[in-house]
């Protein structure tokens, strides 16, 4: 009945179950790049959101503590059905993947140190390190526009590395001391920037 290829956004998920299965499906396609899948599923295929809306919600997901994709699913779920929507979406993202992962962990455990398995996982571990490093590298260009300036931002890297690797501070202390300092300085820089513009 509906005309295909319409540019009208669809009314959104039909219910909690729809939310749950949508996010389950998104999670199952997400190998280290759930964001891309979110875009394909929610913006292109289901048309629940526009690209701008997705990016806006994602930036909020980033501000709030916790896994970004988890937060994003909660935010989207909450948007449609309140708290129950958030729960449905969150469960969708985590429940089936959790079960699968536990099965995978069991299989790994049963493999009892076979050299092929250990070797494969060792190599995968190194690729994961590369992925983490690449994520960090991709965040760097955005820091050029930072209120504190690029150099000050780069300084955070050796400071954080020293705090974690050498001083062995707990994460909370690193975030409170280094993170807190940077936040306060950024706050003041934002104020100066606004004052200069006005």
């Amino acid at each position: 009945m509906s005309v295909p290829q319409t540019n009208e956004p669809s009314p959104g998920p039909k219910g909690l179950a729809d939310l749950y299965w949508a996010f389950t499906w998104i999670a199952l396609q997400g190998f280290g790049g759930v964001m891309g899948v979110m875009y394909r599923e929610l913006v292109e295929r289901r048309r629940w959101l526009t690209n701008e809306e997705l990016l806006e919600l994602w930036s909020i997901a980033q501000v709030l503590p916790g896994p970004n994709m988890g937060n994003l699913s909660l935010i989207i779920g909450e948007r449609y059905f309140g708290v129950r929507g958030a729960i449905a979406a969150g469960l969708g993202l985590f429940s089936v993947p959790f079960v699968l992962l536990m099965l995978l962990a069991l299989a790994y455990t049963q493999s009892a140190g076979h050299p092929e398995v250990m070797g494969a996982l060792r190599a995968v571990g190194v690729v994961v390190v590369a992925l983490i490093a690449v994520t960090a590298l991709k965040l760097l260009p955005a820091l050029r526009e930072h209120p504190l300036g690029f150099t000050a931002c780069l300084l955070a890297i050796p400071l954080t590395l020293a705090a974690i690797l050498w001083l062995k501070w707990p994460l909370l202390v690193v975030l409170a001391v280094l993170g807190g300092s940077y936040c306060v300085l950024t706050y003041r820089a934002l104020g100066r920037g606004a004052a200069q513009r006005s």
């Binding site: 396609q29 790049g33 970004n68 909450e78 962990a105 092929e116 994520t135 890297i157 706050y187």
Partner: protein, 193 residues
């Protein structure tokens, strides 16, 4: 595999859950940010995981589809496994899952409307932008922690080459992660790295 022989008391299980819940709230910039915190607690401080189990947990979470923050569940699995058997491992998995997800999930669900309204405020922007450089530092620290065991040049140099190649491919090309992950896993299985 179980590499340690632990006997966690109920209080220690509670401490594990509590710690993951703390990490949940400290996960600014994403789940990966808390890897140094998890490493410090589980491997260095409590000695409930070996370095190998730590890395393996992360790798398994990456290989499986879904949010990578589930590495916490696999770490919990290994703690439970070290505690004796698969049933403890499953408990550990649940503890990791609930710990790493629940607090931030509750906070997000409750605060999302408020944050949307306040997102232009200077404090919120300062928080988001202020944390960003430190988050970058935390990620690089995680990378360093994970590569730390591979310092024996004779056996490990191929692993470092793999890492560099993977880094360049993932950074400079649009290759999907699986195109790098699967060949790497094959190389590892064959014993070539």
């Amino acid at each position: 595999m179980a590499e340690l022989a632990l006997e966690l008391t109920a209080w220690q299980w509670w401490d594990l859950l509590w710690h993951f819940m703390g990490l949940s709230l400290l996960a600014v910039g994403g789940g990966v940010s808390v890897l140094p915190g998890a490493h410090r607690y589980l491997v260095l401080q409590q000695g409930w995981l070996t370095q190998t189990q730590f890395s393996a947990s992360l790798a398994l979470a990456q290989v499986a589809p879904g949010p990578n923050v589930l590495f916490a569940a696999v770490m919990g699995w290994h703690v439970g496994l070290n505690n004796g058997n698969v049933y403890w491992a499953l408990l550990g998995g649940c503890v990791g899952l609930v710990g790493i997800v629940l607090p931030s999930a509750v906070l997000t669900t409750v605060a999302t409307r408020w944050i949307r309204q306040q997102s232009e405020r200077r404090e919120v922007r300062a928080f988001k932008q202020g944390m960003a450089p430190v988050v970058v530092g935390l990620m690089l620290a995680s990378a360093a922690l994970l590569m730390a065991p591979y310092q024996v040049v004779e056996t490990d140099w191929k692993l470092w080459i793999l890492g560099l190649v993977a880094l360049l491919l993932l950074w400079r090309t649009k290759l999907h992660l699986l195109w790098v992950l699967v060949p790497a896993a094959c190389l590892g299985a064959l014993g070539w790295v």
